[in-house]
Each structure stands twice: as structure tokens, then as C-alpha cells.
């Protein structure tokens, strides 16, 4: 099937928000805090500028509540009397000229009486640093299974390791951008975003407007990776405030330096493992401490932490587990959602810890994993019993076979002996990713999808799930056309416009196909049932629709479905026990690297990623997801380093923040195993995030095999490796 928007993207015809022409509109821009923490003494407008030409908005112009609606209401839309991070928005400006408004930003000075900032999340804050509760902890979660202390005390061997992962910038191709205008008594916001109803809720709260007086429309979105999950709510509020005050359309488009400096990134993490094992390598106890840097406001940190912790034990069976995690405040630009949502960090740590255990026991890391991987009927850290028919050992073996892991090890021994400067090595990781929202999240969301028949027999699919490059339009077309026996051209996907589409939840958490796809199938069945014959398909169905409209002039033939949890699942939010996810996808990754001992640069020579994701519905899209995820993880592991000053990224340009180019990654070899998931669309589980979980620890393990060093902090830049490898 042809990609729905493929041709228009290829030809440059897709209109992203910055491409949409604006009649008599204004350009908006943001004046931000220069300081990480303090009270705003004064906002000084330079007398050199004629401010009458500008629309100026500050916190006093906010009609509703001055906070960005999300988990907690601590983040102001615009700082009122104090700031908590550099780049915190304080004043908004708009002008007819894009140039003038950007120039004017420099003529507004925010003067802050500084207070001592908290900048290192790994250290406990001093008394003068407390800004949230009594301890700056946004969220503290403990997962308990069995008796860890007793098991550690009895274990023949206890192994400790500490691991750290850095922040990561999303680098979506299209920067954040939005337009707002007033239509009668409705505020309309259109822009680049992942979650139309999050933005809608933020606008109703912040603007103090009824739900039907706020309308959010998604424009074609050039990548998100989580970066357009919560941040667009902030930008939407800003652009809407300016439009309301101006009484005219306003457009705000961040340029790359502003986008990189002021928006969210992946949470930096510090993770400590103490693992009790027996002499054969069986896991007896896992004690894991996790700290995530949340940045200055709560945003989504508690849920990112939650997912991180649920994955912190890895895909292994262990009877005694304690995972104790905190997301804490620092005076940094808030961290947020990023593909993987906390799991890549904790999986990096547990996989490195598995390698450390193997080394200390003198065991083969493959065999250590083989022994401990969850078997059918065993349970995860939250006590979720896995009975999904997936064969995790086969995933592992397929990765070993495809990569020729053993042969490579032998080949590398010869290669390394024959070379003075070059060393090769191979590394492995095994991992898992829970698909859909955690715990009761899907029940709470209670998503709805709709389909509507058109008088000409075509079917329109209405959801709030969006295309951002990952293929939603295509896969939804495929799901609807296959379930109705129609041609792809008979299916239309509605624009994600809150005036038309129901709330089918956000486009996050690898849930779109698995959860919403299923709702589309059910909505299709609901529509067909209304025609009196549930077996109608294909041309007969089309004809029946045409006939229905002839008979019911003015009527609308539609179908709808609401989410229902899979039978037999249970989750207890208070004790963090039960079925954390409807299903897990499973993966194994093998990475081969070459390290130049004279420069300590690392090149990735080969990557094999094997995954079990239920049924693969569209192989091309699925491979694309895996390959893209692997590249993103390689960048995070080797070169993507955010450089910080006062809690703000200072290498906020694409010449200083390195993402991999096509010369930095080898062809990525992808393979799938399929164990259909009974409650996912066509047997599918989520796929979008799993591929980011595995490569980083495998890269580090490969470097370890090549050099004999023990990388426990990523990115493993040449400098870091040079510190570890003193023979350079």
C-alpha cells in the first residue's frame, strides 16, 4: 500500500505550519528568563523601541489559571514574580514584522534577584535549594516484590554498579510552531503537535474558556519523538494569548537554537544496582535505585519515572526485587517525554549490570541472559505474569544467529591481535517494552474512535491520533480498509480537529496501532451492524451505504467504539502491583564496533535488532520504526551530549550537538518474530519505542569487549573513553 502522504511530502507539497500563509497576521516571540532562579525585580522595556507598535502580553493578561494544565499545576504559562529556570517564558511580543519582533525581544530585559539554583540532580539539595515540598522530590515510587534485604543477605555474591545516562534532544526536523486565530467566539490553535486533546485541555484551563470555545487542529507534523507531547501546550497558550490580545492571527515558530534551548529533552538519569546472584548466575535479588532529573517543573516526570521503574529490572525473572525511584527538581529547563519514556535509561543500567555480573562471575553474558530471561508463567517486577506465547529465548537466538555473534568474537580475537591501533568487539542486550499507557492509564483515558460513512460509500476515520512521520495515516487506512474489505482510496482519515474528532487519546506510548487501531476495527463493525447485516464487506458494503443515504436524507451513518481493558487484567496504583501493561514487546540487539585506540573514536560496524512485537501489520513501516529508533539510540550512546550552563543547554545548534549522519550508522538489520497479541489490532503490540531501549547498552558492551574498559556513563565520547582507557 502506498504511503498516504508520501507523494506530497516527497514533492514538498505538504504544508507544515510555517508554510501556511497568514493574512494580516502577526508574528509572536518570547522573552525569557536569563537566570536559573530568583525573583523578578523588574521587566525593563527599552525606550529605544516604539512599544505602541507591539502587542505585549505578560502574566496579567492570562484570563484563566496561570499554569500549564498537566499532572500538577506548578508550571506557569508566563512567570509572574519568580523564575525557576533559564529560558522560562516571561513576556510575549507580537508584531507585523517577523524581523521587528525578534529584534524587540532583545530590547526587553528581565531583571532577576538571584537565588541559589539547584543544578546537580544527583546531590541532595541544600536547605536554601528547596522549592518543591520539603525535599524537591516530584515523585517517589517504590516497586516491591519478595524480600530483597533477606535475599541480598543470603546471596552468595552481591554485585554493585552505578550507571548514568545523559539528556537527549529530540531533533525533530520541524521545530515547534503554531498559529492561533479567533473565529467568532472560538479560539482556534493549529500547529505541530502529538496530542490535540492535551493542548485543548491546557487552553480551556489557561484561557478560562468552555470546551466548545476552544478548537485545536493538528497540522502536518515533522517529527515528534515525545517532544511534541507536552511542550505544545505551552506554545499554544502563548500564541492564543497573543491572538486574543491582538484580535488578529498570530504565528509563533521557534528557530532551531530557541527550540533546542527552551524545550524539553530526555531525562538524565543516575541508577544504582545491587544484585544478588548465585554462583551459576541466577538472579536472587535486584535492588535498584533510580534518580531522574525532572528539571524545574513537574510536567510529565512522574509518569516517565513510573515507566522507567517498571522496566528497571529488565526482562528477567527474579523473586526479590525492590526498585526505588525518584524524579527530582533542579533549576534546569524541564525534561519531558522522549521516545522510550524512561525505559531506555533504566534498561541501559540493568543491561550494563548484567554484563558486570557476567564478568565478575566469569560467565558468558549470553548465557547469563539466557538463564534469567522471563519464561512463560514467570512474572515481572510488578508481579505481572507473562503468558503471551512469545519465545524470548528464540528472540535472543535469532539475534545471535543473524549477527554471527560467536563467529564475530573469534574473528575479533584474530583482528585485534593483528592490529596495533584498532580493536573490534561485539555486544548484546535483551530488553522489553510495555505497550500502551501504564497501569490504569488506558482505562482512565477511555478513548473513543469513530468512523463515518459518506454518501458516496467512502468511510472516514475520526480519531485524535496524528501522523508525525511514523505512518499513522497509512496504517489507519490499512486497518479500516482491511476490516471493511474496501480499497485504500475508499478510506479517508479526518484531520485531527477537536471540533470533529473524538478523544482517542494522545499519540504516544506506542499505543496508536495497538489500542486505537483496535477501536477503529470495532467502530467499523459498529457501523456495518447498523446496516442490518454484519457480514457486509467490499462493494456490497459500499452499495449498502449509498442505499442507506438515499433512504435517510440528512442522516449520518456512523460507528463508534470505546476502550475496554483486556479481560482479566488488574493493576493497583498504590502498591504498584499487577498488570502494568496489556502486553510487552521483546527485543535483542547485537552491535559490533571498531574503536581506534589512538583517537578513541568508536564506529558502529553492524547492528542486528530482532524483536517480537505481536503481528507486524505493515512491514515497511515497522522496519522504519526499528531502524530510526536504533539510530536515535546510537546517537544517545555515542555522541549526543547536551552541554549545560546554569541548567540550560548551551550547545543548542546542530553544529555542536551531534546527531548521527548516514555515515555514522551501518545498514541496520531488522528481523521480527510474531506471537499475535489477542487484544491488539490484528494481533499487534506497540512498536514505536522498543527499538530505542536496546542499542545503547549493546554499544557500551561492544566497546567493553573491544577495549577492556567498562563504560557505565553515556554518551561514550572519545574523551570519556580516553579517561577509561589510559593506554591511549
Amino acid at each position: 500500500m502506498e504511503r498516504r502522504e508520501g507523494i506530497s511530502k516527497l514533492l514538498g507539497r505538504e504544508l507544515y505550519i510555517d508554510d501556511v500563509p497568514m493574512d494580516r497576521g502577526l508574528w509572536g516571540a518570547t522573552v525569557r528568563s536569563p537566570s536559573p532562579r530568583g525573583r523578578i525585580r523588574e521587566v525593563r522595556f527599552s525606550p529605544d523601541v516604539n512599544w505602541d507598535e507591539f502587542v505585549v502580553v505578560d502574566h496579567r493578561d492570562i484570563p484563566g489559571e496561570n499554569h500549564v494544565w498537566l499532572i500538577e499545576s506548578d508550571q506557569p504559562v508566563l512567570a509572574a514574580d519568580s523564575v525557576r529556570h533559564v529560558h522560562e517564558p516571561v513576556v510575549l511580543l507580537a508584531h507585523h514584522s517577523r524581523e521587528m519582533v525578534h529584534r524587540a525581544v532583545r530590547s526587553v530585559e528581565v531583571i532577576v534577584d538571584p537565588a541559589p539554583p539547584v543544578l546537580d540532580f544527583r546531590l541532595p539539595p541544600g536547605a536554601d535549594g528547596i522549592q518543591h515540598g520539603t525535599d524537591n522530590v516530584f515523585s517517589h515510587i517504590v516497586i516491591r516484590k519478595g524480600d530483597v534485604d533477606a535475599a541480598l543477605a543470603d546471596a552468595p555474591v552481591v554485585i554493585e554498579g552505578t550507571y548514568e545516562t545523559g539528556a537527549q534532544e529530540h531533533v525533530y526536523l520541524e521545530n515547534q510552531g503554531m498559529v492561533a486565530w479567533i473565529d467568532g467566539d472560538v479560539v482556534v490553535v493549529k500547529g505541530s503537535l502529538q496530542c490535540p486533546y492535551y493542548v485543548h485541555a491546557a487552553l480551556t484551563h489557561g484561557l478560562g474558556r468552555a470546551e466548545d470555545r476552544v478548537r485545536v487542529i493538528q497540522s502536518p507534523t515533522g517529527g515528534g519523538f515525545g517532544g511534541k507531547e507536552e511542550y505544545p501546550s505551552v506554545l499554544a497558550l502563548h500564541v492564543a494569548l497573543l491572538a486574543l490580545k491582538a484580535g488578529a492571527p498570530v504565528k509563533m515558530i521557534y528557530d532551531r537554537p530557541e527550540d533546542m534551548a527552551a524545550t524539553t529533552k530526555r531525562h538524565p538519569a543516575w541508577i544504582r544496582h545491587r544484585t544478588g546472584v548465585d554462583l551459576d548466575g541466577r538472579l536472587l535479588a535486584q535492588a535498584v535505585e533510580v534518580v531522574f532529573d525532572g528539571g524545574a517543573y513537574v510536567t510529565l516526570s512522574p509518569v516517565v519515572l513510573s515507566r522507567g521503574l517498571i522496566h528497571a529490572g529488565g526482562p528477567y525473572a527474579c523473586d526479590n526485587v525492590r526498585i526505588d525511584g525518584r524524579a527530582v527538581l533542579t533549576n534546569s529547563v524541564p525534561f519531558g517525554a522522549f521516545r522510550g519514556f524512561g525505559a531506555p535509561q533504566t534498561i541501559f543500567a540493568v543491561e550494563r549490570q548484567m554484563d558486570k555480573i557476567a564478568e565478575e562471575l566469569g560467565m558468558d553474558p549470553v548465557e547469563l541472559r539466557r538463564m534469567n530471561l522471563i519464561r512463560e508463567g514467570q512474572s515481572t517486577a510488578t508481579g505481572q505474569i507473562i503468558r503471551d506465547g512469545a519465545d524470548r529465548l528464540e528472540v535472543l537466538d535469532r539475534a545471535l544467529d543473524l549477527s554471527a555473534y560467536r563467529e564475530k568474537q573469534e574473528e575479533h580475537a584474530r583482528f585485534n591481535a593483528a592490529h596495533e591501533d584498532l580493536r573490534r568487539g561485539v555486544g548484546l542486550s535483551t530488553y522489553f517494552h510495555g505497550a500502551g499507557f501504564t497501569g490504569g492509564g488506558e482505562v482512565h483515558l477511555s478513548s473513543v474512535a469513530k468512523v463515518e460513512a459518506r454518501p458516496d460509500g467512502r468511510i472516514e476515520v475520526l480519531t485524535s491520533n496524528i501522523e508525525m512521520g511514523q505512518g499513522t495515516l497509512t496504517i489507519f487506512t490499512q486497518i479500516a480498509s482491511e476490516s471493511l474489505g474496501l480499497e485504500p482510496d475508499d478510506v479517508v482519515i479526518a484531520e485531527a480537529d477537536t471540533f470533529r474528532v473524538p478523544n482517542s487519546g494522545p499519540t504516544v506510548a506506542s499505543r496508536t496501532v495497538m489500542v486505537v487501531g483496535r477501536l477503529i476495527e470495532k467502530a467499523c463493525a459498529d457501523l456495518v451492524a447498523k446496516l442490518g447485516d454484519s457480514d457486509l464487506r467490499g462493494p456490497d458494503l459500499k452499495q449498502a451505504i449509498v442505499d442507506w443515504y438515499r433512504k435517510h436524507s440528512g442522516g449520518v451513518l456512523d460507528g463508534a467504539a470505546r476502550y475496554e481493558p483486556p479481560p482479566g487484567t488488574s493493576w493497583d496504583e498504590d502498591s504498584y502491583r499487577g498488570d502494568a501493561y496489556g502486553a510487552f514487546a521483546w527485543g535483542a540487539c547485537v552491535v559490533e564496533v571498531e574503536v581506534d585506540l589512538r583517537t578513541l573514536g568508536t564506529r558502529v560496524l553492524d547492528v542486528v535488532a530482532v524483536q517480537e512485537v505481536g503481528k507486524v501489520l505493515n512491514e515497511l513501516l515497522a522496519r522504519g520504526q526499528i531502524q530510526g529508533g536504533v539510530v536515535q539510540a546510537i546517537g544517545w550512546a555515542l555522541m549526543e551530549e547536551c552541554v549545560w550552563s546554569d541548567g540550560a543547554m548551551v550547545n543548542n545548534q546542530l553544529t555542536n550537538y551531534m546527531i548521527p549522519t548516514s555515515d555514522d550508522v551501518p545498514p541496520i538489520r531488522v528481523d521480527f518474530l510474531e506471537a499475535p497479541y489477542a487484544h491488539g489490532t490484528g494481533g499487534a503490540k506497540g512498536i514505536g519505542e522498543l527499538p530505542v531501549d536496546g542499542p545503547a547498552p549493546a554499544v557500551a558492551a561492544a566497546i567493553e569487549a573491544a577495549t577492556g574498559t567498562h563504560p557505565r556513563v553515556i554518551p561514550v565520547t572519545p574523551e570519556r573513553l580516553m579517561e577509561l582507557y589510559d593506554g591511549a
Partner: protein
């Protein structure tokens, strides 16, 4: 906290078709003039509004400034010749493959198709404070942000800095110095020829300039003498990723061997000092000795003896030493 960049300011655009016309325009507009070659460095400055020339003189229509011609065993390369043309020219590849390798290491194919060799050697430093519009020494201010105690200076100098610790970003520069190229510079007043080695400016001489080019001068061509034709060459650029990235440390060398010993050598390193530098300490260890691993190591050690790293670039010392060592010994198969 100037996160938002300004729009490109307006300027007058000229498109002369001869060098003479261009030089007249340069003379007329003086400090307010800006020569435009491929635009890759130029447009960054203009779009960020950090430089605001009033007259932009586009050299793109001057055909006499473009092309590669053989010249008594050497080559003459017009300053407007693109990096792709330099990298792929059969004459360059055959006799001066060092320059071809260097040109191939610039950025990406798109940038090499558009960027010129003249622009490549005349480009400004990539110090991110300076490029971010910070009012540092080089920008006419009275501080170097990159040398401040909490500064980010991973990409900066370990050698020869004077107030400014920024490095020269050009990949072709060290190769041109190793080949003893001559830079032909013209102004309305006449022509002068400067050795590539003397073309690049140290901040000790003038902190606001990267080269000896005066505001009214153009680099018109680069002459490569026969001297190093088909010598033993070595080029290696270390960078954070394999394309679209500036050098951390680069070595370019040319050696002549005689009876198993090094008869003559020029070893040039870029990315370590304010300008690409010949490492004479290493050359003197080398000349008269066999080009092997231990001499390489000795030469490398000699080269970094005077290095003074900043807070975040100590890694450049072993890197420079190891690259020199490898340049002498040659790459492993």
C-alpha cells in the same frame, strides 16, 4: 540570552564579472564590503545578524577565478573552484592527492558542491561564543568567554593562543601548507603572493582576522608548486561523526624518502592552534630518520611538549601526538 536569531538584514548586492570590477567595488566599499563565494560561512553571519555588511560582492560570475590548470609540474587553482572540483580533479588526485583528501573531508557533498576553496581558507572560526554573537575579544570586546573558568572549550586551542583560543576550521588549509602552496592576493592597488604558511593570522598579530587578507583584497588563486608532487602523503581528520562535522584535530603531511630515511617532510596540524601550524619540532626529529613507529612517537611527543590544554580539551594532546605518530608510520591496513 539571545536565543532568538534576527532575520537577515538588507544589503546591496553586486555581481561583477571580472576580478578588476570586483576589486573596484571592494575598494569603494572598504570595511562595509563583503566578498561572497559559496555563501556557506557568509550566510550564517548575515542571517544571525552578527555581521552587517552594506555591500555584498558576489564572486560567482567571475569565470577567471574558477578552474584548475597545470602549471610547470604544479597547479594553479582559482579561488572560486568548488571543493568538489578540487577533490575530484584528476590533476589534483594524481599529483597532490593530499589536497584531494582534505577537500573530501569537508562537511558533506552538498557543502562541497557549493563551497569554494577560497571561501574554505578564508572562513571564520567556529568558536560558538563568537558565532553566537557574544561580544568577545575577536568581536571587538574585552574578554574571551571560551577561556573563562566555567567555559566550554572542548573545540579550542592547546597551542599558541594569545587572548583568543579559537581554532581555524578549514580542512584544506593544513594540506595547502604541507604542499607549500602560494596564495595570490589582489587589490585595486596590485598583487602580492603569500606562502600558505603565512596566510593564516595569529591573534597575536590581529585578533579580528583569520587571514592576512585586507578588507579590500581578494584571494584570486592558489598556486601549488611541483616541490611535493607525488610525495608520500598522509591526511587524517578526527571529528565527532563521520560527515558534516568540523575537525577536532587534523594532520596533513608530505614526506620525501631516500634510502629508507626521511629526506624532507612538512607536517601540519589544524584544530590545535589559532591557525594551522607546521610542527617543526616533529619535522626535525624526523628528517634523516626512518619513518617508523618509534620515530613517530618521538616526533609526536616533541610536538605536544609545549601544549597547554584548557579545561575541556586535554584530549587533544594525546590525539595530536597519536595523529603525528600515525602520519609518520602510515595507516594500518
Amino acid at each position: 540570552m539571545a536565543v532568538i536569531r534576527d532575520m537577515m538584514p538588507a544589503f546591496e548586492l553586486f555581481r561583477p564579472v571580472s576580478v578588476d570590477d570586483a576589486l573596484q567595488l571592494m575598494a569603494r566599499h572598504g570595511e562595509a564590503a563583503w566578498a561572497l563565494a559559496g555563501g556557506l560561512d557568509t550566510f550564517d553571519w548575515l542571517k544571525d545578524r552578527i555581521k552587517r555588511p552594506e555591500a555584498v560582492i558576489d564572486l560567482g560570475a567571475i569565470s577567471e577565478m574558477r578552474g584548475i590548470t597545470a602549471d610547470r609540474g604544479g597547479l594553479t587553482i582559482g579561488a572560486m573552484t568548488t571543493l568538489t572540483e578540487v577533490a575530484t580533479s584528476p590533476e589534483v588526485v594524481e599529483s597532490f592527492s593530499l589536497l584531494s583528501m582534505a577537500a573530501f573531508h569537508v562537511a558533506t557533498p552538498q557543502i562541497r558542491n557549493q563551497g569554494t576553496i577560497g571561501g574554505n581558507v578564508a572562513q571564520d572560526t567556529r568558536c560558538w561564543y563568537y558565532r553566537g554573537g557574544w561580544p568577545c575579544y575577536r568581536a571587538g570586546g574585552n574578554i574571551c568567554y571560551a577561556a573563562a573558568p566555567k567555559a566550554m572549550n572542548r573545540e579550542h586551542c592547546i597551542l599558541g593562543a594569545k587572548r583568543c583560543v579559537a581554532v581555524n576550521p578549514s580542512d584544506t588549509a593544513p594540506a595547502l601548507i604541507a604542499l607549500d602552496a602560494q596564495m595570490v592576493i589582489r587589490s585595486a592597488g596590485g598583487e602580492r603572493v603569500v606562502a600558505a604558511e603565512d596566510f593564516f593570522m595569529s591573534p597575536a598579530v590581529d585578533i579580528t582576522r583569520m587571514t592576512v587578507l585586507e578588507p579590500d583584497e581578494l584571494l584570486t588563486e592558489i598556486r601549488i608548486p611541483e616541490t611535493w608532487s607525488r610525495a608520500r602523503f598522509y591526511f587524517e581528520k578526527v571529528r565527532d561523526r563521520q560527515s558534516w562535522d568540523f575537525s577536532l584535530v587534523t594532520v596533513a603531511s608530505a614526506m620525501r624518502m631516500s634510502g629508507g630515511r626521511v629526506q624532507d617532510a612538512r607536517i601540519v596540524v589544524n584544530g590545535v592552534a589559532p591557525r594551522p601550524v607546521r610542527v617543526t619540532e616533529a619535522e626535525s626529529v624526523l628528517i634523516g630518520s626512518p619513518a617508523n613507529e618509534s620515530i613517530g612517537l618521538a616526533a609526536g611527543e616533541a610536538a605536544i611538549r609545549r601544549a597547554k590544554p584548557l579545561r575541556h580539551n586535554d584530549f587533544k594532546r594525546p590525539l595530536m601526538r597519536n595523529l603525528i605518530r600515525r602520519a609518520i608510520r602510515g595507516q594500518e591496513a
